[in-house]
Amino acid sequence: MMSDKWPSPSPRDEVLSRVVTRGLRIRLINRVVAVALAVSAVGAGVAVGYSGILPFGTAAPVTGGSLPYYLCPATGEAGEFHHGDRVLVTGVDASGNWLQVRDPAALERRVWVQREAVDPDSELDTPVAECSTDVRRLEVLVPEESTTTTLPEGTTTTVPEETTTTTVPATTTSTAGPTTTTRPQTTTTTTPATTTTTTAPAAPVVASVSANPGTIKEQWSGICVDGSFTSTITAQVSNATSVTMSWDVGPQPRSTEPEPIDVDTYREVHDLFWMDLCYGHPYRLSFMAVDEDGNELDLRAIAGGARTTYPGYGYLQLSGVGVRQYSVTVTLDRLGDGVEAQRLDVTIDGMTVPFRAPGATPG
């Protein structure tokens, strides 16, 4: 069809032909980039020392439309894969009807999908696995009770090692706040003879936060890899009567109330960002939870952004989980002329330190 108002110097059909040829090529490139990203993500998982991710498992694509996945078989839906997504199968349940796979949004986690919707590349030869909620509730260390004991002058006391509780890496040093990393076995304390015991108020707990897909994209350039335009963010929040998720990109903070989809599980579908992320704006995502007594969970950022320095192509990858100590894990990659990890930081109780996962080489 040739329009009377065709504006271009070249004929319409010739232009359309160029568009289709180039479009097919872009589509192919995007697929290659997507595979490369998947490979690099796996590599990143190994690099930061997550345990038990690789090399075990069988790769398999998801068939059908969308496939919900679950934290445990037959529990509340925690997210979904899409047709063609490739997952790494790491186990099968005793019934054989459920597969344990790695969560691409949080490589250290395992989630479960129904066996019939996955088409393995090869015969499944994976061990029988059980769902353990404790395993995927990643190190939620909220001290229920803190005790300060003061002793008579000159008293020498021994503090058992097991009373020390921290997940702060040993290399971390505190510049502010009461951080205790390594406590000697024997301590000599000289203080007035009083004893006080303080019990922290009960409060909701965010056990884990995941995003699926683990990328929240910006679309200024129009370049993106294949994938969803939205990300489903799921949080497990216990002991809460209301949960609010808030985020800010640049000057416009926004918030919403995630949808409760199961006991203690909340879900929010996050739209894509347009151009807000392109120009140095940090991205922060927080959860606020309140229990029936009005106790509030600390507002905690689970993702804080670095930014590309060039107003071009980028996206945020929410590969972290929100827990008390390890509150931020963000990688920011740049697409278009290569994939380049910018930063990987963790904020520990408000103090940002370079990420040092167990077994990782300090970078």
């Binding site: 504006p7 289709v20 589509r27 129009g222 993106c224 640049g250 347009w274 151009m275 120009y279």
Partner: protein
């Protein structure tokens, strides 16, 4: 010829309108029909590649405008960067390119909505009503964002803005 091309459902029906929009945006940014055609082709090729996601979306034209304007300003920037001509010998066309690059840079610093309104209104040539429809906001909101965006641009670009305002229209 087009009958032999395998295009996604609805793409060819939407092609003429979206291409015209992309071409118009690029032409206003670059001032060169041949260069504008290259940008418009690239824009529509990206739309083709992502048609499954944007094809049914009400904001697909806005998407095309954004992509086209970004590509056009990238092209203008590249032309400026790779010009062998010393600055003192630049002619009118190079001055235009430099001005357009400045405009693009300042446009990029505006808040999102102001940027979208300016791009649709002045690069895509939409009316305020059309801009409002594409962005799914009221005309009053369009006017507000337009006013604020232009005021910010004028403030940042100073005396240059008067000329550029005329240029982008």
């Amino acid at each position: 010829m087009s009958a032999n091309l395998r295009t996604p459902t609805g793409f060819e029906e939407a092609f003429d309108g979206l291409y015209a929009t992309a071409f118009r945006v690029a032409l206003r940014a670059l001032g060169n029909p041949t260069a504008a055609e290259d940008v418009a082709v690239e824009t529509l090729a990206r739309a083709f590649a992502h048609w499954g996601k944007i094809g049914d979306q009400p904001w697909r034209e806005g998407w095309v405008v954004r992509v086209a304007s970004n590509l056009a300003f990238d092209a203008a920037r590249a032309r400026s960067r790779f010009s062998d001509t010393p600055p003192e010998e630049t002619g009118r066309e190079d001055e235009d390119v430099a001005a357009r690059v400045s405009l693009a840079q300042e446009l990029a610093r505006l808040p999102r909505r102001q940027r979208e309104v300016l791009a649709l209104r002045h690069l895509a040539g939409h009316s305020e009503a059309e801009t409002a429809e594409v962005l799914r906001v009221s005309e009053g909101s369009v006017k507000t964002h337009l006013h604020r965006g232009l005021a910010a641009m004028r403030s940042r670009l100073g005396v240059e803005m008067g000329g550029m305002t005329g240029d982008v229209r």
